[in-house]
């Protein structure tokens, strides 16, 4: 090739580049053909022009993609033609990455590229950051409220003015047994029980009227029983008040309810305990009363009688002497009976009397007791009759029922006049036997009847028709022992027409 041809070829190549023509092919391979024989300076010029074409082609391709907004292509290395655009490409890639971070919720990005655009963009990020902070604060507040409502032992609710549920907190499941969603499906009148809600509706209407007139928002508290989902009833304490909006307009009724069943049971147990203590105190008083008065009296009488018998004048007067001995015998019998009852009663109170029921013949038991009172009845010419069927068998504790029959017979004879009648009868009405001790004696007033069998009201009993004394302790024992048999004891009486004491005892095992 001539020098002119070489110059023309290179000029055409450079002109092509200046005209925007992209050429990726070399003009010549400098190591082959005609160029290889050219001087080194010419070969170097071809080499640089070839490299320029190559870099220009790379740059053109890169710039074309960049102009289309495509940043995926990595920029060509060691290409000085596009150095500023590589910086631009890098900055744009970083901005895309930052935008992706922002899209994922990272608002810590700060753009310092493209002047006014970056200022606006950073303001946008700041707004998003503030919004995120506000949302986070709201979320935390809601979370706290949710945790409070879920973990509160009290249930919080809101009713409209027709007492329909608008809201109920999840704690309702702990009180009612229903979830909040289930509660919202139920009429409040069912949930809180009809009686409770109807009772409070009128009161709430009154409170609403007062609020509208005076602005005073009164708190309404009440306790009531409501049905639990499991079927049992629970006690709740409810507090309600009007829920006004910020302008004072009533938007509903807010309330809270808590389960107070445990407290109620404790109160009931406390009342029972108080009752037990009162009885215990009355028992103690009665015990001391008997010791101090009822026992002291007869013992004192016996002491006086003994002193009288010791007098020489009395010992010579046989008739008076035996009369005094008979009086002493009566007093000692009464005192013995009292002591016997006192001992049994004391044991009963201590719980040291064993209850051992078995099958016994009731007729025989009554017969034995009647024989004990034969003399006492003869003294007052009273007819004693055992009307219990001979074959009557019951399932009872012998000692206890023996004490009951003895005390009731003793009382019947005591309050029956001369020539009177006392009888014991029994009617079997399975699984019990109803036993009655009937007399045609003086009878009792209603006031006296109502005080029988009670430890706190018994007082010195009415004196018998022959001056016999008593304490009322015997009837108390009867009551205690019949209770042990799961039976009843009752009295029918009318002044002047006698009395009938009836009690029931089992006639079979497991009555």
């Amino acid at each position: 090739m001539t020098d002119l041809q070489i110059l023309k070829e290179l000029t055409d190549k450079i002109t092509g580049i200046l005209n925007g023509k992209v050429s990726t092919t070399s003009i010549h391979n400098i190591d082959e053909g005609e160029i290889s024989s050219q001087p080194e300076e010419i070969k170097a010029l071809y080499e640089r022009i070839n490299l320029l074409c190559e870099k220009h082609a790379e740059a053109s391709q890169f710039m074309l993609q960049l102009s289309k907004g495509s940043l995926e292509q990595d920029p060509p290395k060691a290409n000085f033609l596009i150095s500023p655009f590589k910086e631009l490409h890098s900055s744009l890639r970083h901005m895309i990455w930052q935008t992706q971070c922002i899209a994922e919720g990272d608002y810590n990005q700060h753009i310092n590229f493209m002047g006014d655009f970056s200022t606006s963009f950073n303001q946008l990020i700041e707004s998003l950051r503030q919004k995120q902070a506000a949302e986070l604060a709201l979320q935390r507040s809601e979370e706290r409220a949710r945790l409070f409502l879920e973990n509160a032992t009290d249930v919080i609710f809101v009713l409209d003015l027709n007492l329909n549920l608008i809201y109920i907190s999840p704690a309702c499941v702990n009180i009612f047994g229903y979830t909040d969603e289930e509660c919202m499906q139920m009429p409040s009148i069912t949930l809180f029980s009809e009686s409770v809600m109807l009772d409070q509706k009128n009161k709430m209407t009154e409170y609403i009227g007062q609020y509208r007139q005076t602005g005073v928002n009164r708190i309404m508290s009440f306790e009531g029983q409501i049905p639990h989902r499991a079927g049992h009833n629970i006690w709740i304490e409810t507090t309600m008040r009007i829920l006004p909006d910020k302008n004072g307009e009533i938007i509903g009724i807010q309330g809270s309810a808590r389960d107070i069943s445990q407290r109620r049971h404790a109160e009931k147990a406390l009342l029972q305990k108080n009752k037990d203590l009162e009885e215990l105190n009355a028992t103690k008083d009665k015990f001391f009363s008997i010791i101090a008065h009822d026992l002291r009296g007869p013992i004192g009488s016996m002491h006086s009688l003994l002193e009288l018998i010791s007098e020489p004048d009395i010992q010579t007067d046989k008739e008076q002497y035996y009369e005094l001995l008979n009086v002493m015998k009566d007093v000692s019998k009464t005192t013995f009976d009292l002591l016997e009852n006192l001992l049994i009663w004391a044991n009963s109170q201590r719980g040291s009397i064993e209850f051992t029921p078995k099958y016994y013949n009731l007729h025989k038991l009554v017969e034995q007791n009647i024989s004990l009172f034969t003399q006492a009845a003869r003294n007052k010419e009273i007819t004693l009759v055992n009307k219990v069927p001979v074959s009557c068998v019951g399932y009872f504790d012998y000692n206890m029922i023996n004490t009951v029959v003895r005390n009731l017979l003793n009382n019947a004879i005591k309050y029956t006049q001369l020539h009177g009648n006392v009888s014991v009868s029994a009617v079997v009405s399975p699984p019990f036997i109803d036993v009655s001790v009937t007399d045609d004696g003086v009878g009792m007033k209603q006031e006296t009847i109502s005080n029988l069998f009670r430890i706190d009201t018994i007082s010195k009993s009415t004196t018998g028709t022959a001056g016999e004394s008593g304490t009322g302790l015997g009837l108390l024992l009867c009551y205690e022992f019949i209770k042990k048999h799961a039976g009843n004891i009752k009295v029918e009486s009318e002044p002047g027409f006698g009395s009938t004491f009836s009690f029931s005892i089992p006639n079979i095992l497991n009555a």
Binding site: K77, N79, K86, E87, S90, N108, H110
Partner: protein
């Protein structure tokens, strides 16, 4: 520090406030580069070009680990950690770090550094020179993620780009051969 087994500790930097009450904590970039490139020159002559580049890379890795351990909070999530790194590098005048790509699943990253302390404004020599930066970025990422990384500078001011671009990829796991002896 003249011992053969010297190991760098952060405290070896010393108390600059105490030691430089008048001149303070700042110096010129030119003086920093004077030290680095004279050292590179000597090392290159003494040990060869590749060996000197390796030494700078390893020194950078040690510096990156210590830098991360002492000046950065590694408990932050990735985006917050990058934000913190950007602020710290800028505040210390080391460069403006930007992120081009991240793949947190594969632990692949492309970082760029503008106004790099080591190279921005250097004469164009058609080769990358930020060996120390390669190690520095690898050290920071290793300390933060507990994974080893290889960092390669694919564009450098010296190679004609106006920005230094680094590709960060996980280092292949070392395969430890074991043999049982009976």
């Amino acid at each position: 520090m003249t011992k053969n087994d010297y190991n760098f500790k952060w405290d070896d930097i010393g108390d600059i406030t105490l030691g430089r009450p008048n001149l303070g904590n700042q110096t010129s970039v030119a003086i920093y580069r004077l030290m680095q490139y004279t050292m590179r020159s000597v090392l290159s002559h003494e040990l060869g070009g590749e060996a000197s580049k390796k030494i700078f890379r390893e020194a950078g890795k040690l510096a990156g680990r210590e830098f991360c351990r002492n000046l950065l909070d590694t408990k932050l999530d990735f985006y917050a950690f990058v934000a913190q790194l950007q602020q710290t590098l800028e505040k210390l005048g080391m460069g403006i770090l930007r992120v081009e790509k991240t793949d947190l699943q594969k632990l692949l990253f492309t970082f760029t550094v503008y106004e790099d302390l080591d190279c921005s404004g250097l004469p164009v020599t058609d080769e990358t020179v930020c060996d120390y930066d390669e190690g520095f970025i690898a050290g920071i990422m290793s300390e933060y993620t507990s994974h080893e990384f290889n960092v390669t500078e694919i564009d450098c001011w010296s190679s004609g780009a106006r920005v230094c671009r680094f590709e960060v990829v996980p280092a292949p796991k070392r395969c430890v051969q074991t043999k049982a002896f009976q």
